[in-house]
Symmetry: C2
Subunit: 296 residues, 2 copies
């Protein structure tokens, strides 16, 4: 059935049963605001919104469940970047009246399946029609212990730079199927002193300079060490974007222990030391080529 | 300058200085997640996202500052509906590369001006390009005291139904300039027992049945009592939508006090008793005509 034949209330009634329930949700989707219990004790509140747009982040013909998966996992990847624990999600759906109810239901299947991987509950949302491209904006709220919150800004000169997984060629499928590195990030901050961290969404060539800049430092990368995906070139690894892997900075004093314990804990996920942070020299940061630049 | 000539980092650098600062914001826009202090003590966390779309909620030629104002005030109106205190906002901007930096700056002026009316801080956001219509999704997080949280569901048979302000004809300008009834809602729950409340965004004819349904009740409305805006007909008042006034249910025992104290507290804002909630009869709820139905 086309959405144009369905009112908002009926669409909501179709979708509500698929949304999870949770003891901490006082009022979920269907009221004016979602009402939930805030993080306990001395934890900090984390908030992140992110969106996927038809023609940019997915194609008109992309499987709707994959679109939903990606729309949810993108902001969750930002939680990984800060070692946060996601908890509640809101979905803002901007959609053409020509799309079908079946498409929206599939989209929500993807959204809820992704959310449930990390015990995230969809507590609300909003739907609007558009004459243009379909877009899905997902906001996630969660928390992090004060002492385990990692930003981009804490890197120190001499820190090793590590990258999880492999880079490049995400557009061949990974970008619709990736799993944010939340467990890995939580393990890292439970066991090591991570000075700075971020997720690679726009490509190493764009994101690493951001981390370095936020830390007031420069960087050196051994290009030949970059862990490329099969079929991906060095240029792909630097510029493609949407890897959703973590890059983080730790002291070289922790290097041996980190590498050894990582292999035992995550035997199927590669961890690569790709370079280091260093003091800003007068020479510009090693040019990495550019990742994906929005609006270009 | 066209956005297509500007990278995301430069756009962010242009916008960041305009965003407010606040002692409770640990990390604002520019990192992976916003990090903020959660509501204190036993308060509940409120979350709401809402979006405005070009061609639906505003026109291509609408003053960008007005668009920003509306985009921020819509979710804040949902906070009013629950007697909540908004605190932090995230802005998801989906925009054509053909728009100018000047347009985006004006949009943000409207967003921040609206936010500052209620001490809301914009702590983050995300920008994506689109080939389609521009859309702005705003998510707001805030809090409410457990005992002052009002939903749509608590109405009791016999309750009086009150409406703030005047209804109808919002599209002639009100929808770009309205002020959410946050102060009024806070005053109401501080002084009276409000059983159910919501904001009128889709028109009384759509929204009142939602409130009644959530409360498991029917309703009676005296059409001739509906407070219409100058130039707006009864049909406009019932069906236009985007009034962003409050409708709420209180016991008739509080009627006299409420009406008297309201006049003193808000002498310039009308309060009208439009009808009452009653037990569901076998006769269908009095037909009100329909408000704005999305997707039609």
């Amino acid at each position: 059935m086309k959405l144009s034949r369905l009112g908002e209330d009926r669409l909501l009634a179709e979708l509500l049963p698929s949304l999870g329930k949770d003891g901490d949700v006082v009022r979920g989707a269907g009221d004016d605001c979602a009402v939930v219990r805030p993080p306990r004790g001395k934890n900090l509140l984390l908030l992140k919104c992110d969106c996927v747009v038809e023609g940019i982040h997915f194609e008109a013909a992309t499987d709707a469940a994959r679109v939903g998966w990606k729309a949810m996992m993108r902001p969750l990847s930002d939680f990984a970047a800060m070692s946060g624990l996601p908890r509640y999600a809101l979905v803002s759906l901007i959609i053409s009246p020509g799309r079908t109810l079946a498409w929206v239901k599939k989209l929500y299947r993807g959204l809820t399946r992704a959310a449930s991987q990390f015990d995230v509950v969809i507590v609300g949302g909003e739907t609007s029609s558009t004459r243009g491209a379909t877009a899905i904006s997902v906001t996630v709220a969660g928390s992090v212990e004060r002492e385990r919150c990692v930003s981009r800004a804490g890197g120190k000169a001499g820190d090793d730079l590590f990258v999880t997984g492999r880079l490049g060629g995400s557009r061949r499928g990974h970008h619709l199927r990736f799993r944010p590195r939340i467990e890995e990030a939580r393990w890292l901050t439970a066991n090591f002193s991570v000075h700075a961290m971020m997720d690679l969404s726009d490509g190493l060539g764009t994101d690493l300079p951001r981390l370095a800049r936020a830390s007031g430092l420069g960087f050196q990368v051994a290009r030949e060490k970059l862990p490329c995906n099969p079929g991906a070139s060095l240029t792909n690894a630097i510029s493609d974007g949407e890897d959703f892997e973590l890059i983080f900075a730790v002291s070289p004093r922790e290097r041996a222990q980190l590498e050894e314990r990582w292999r035992k804990k995550f035997p199927r996920l590669r961890l690569t030391r790709i370079g280091r942070l260093d003091r800003k020299s007068k020479i510009k940061n090693q040019k990495l080529g550019s990742g994906y630049i929005h609006f270009r």
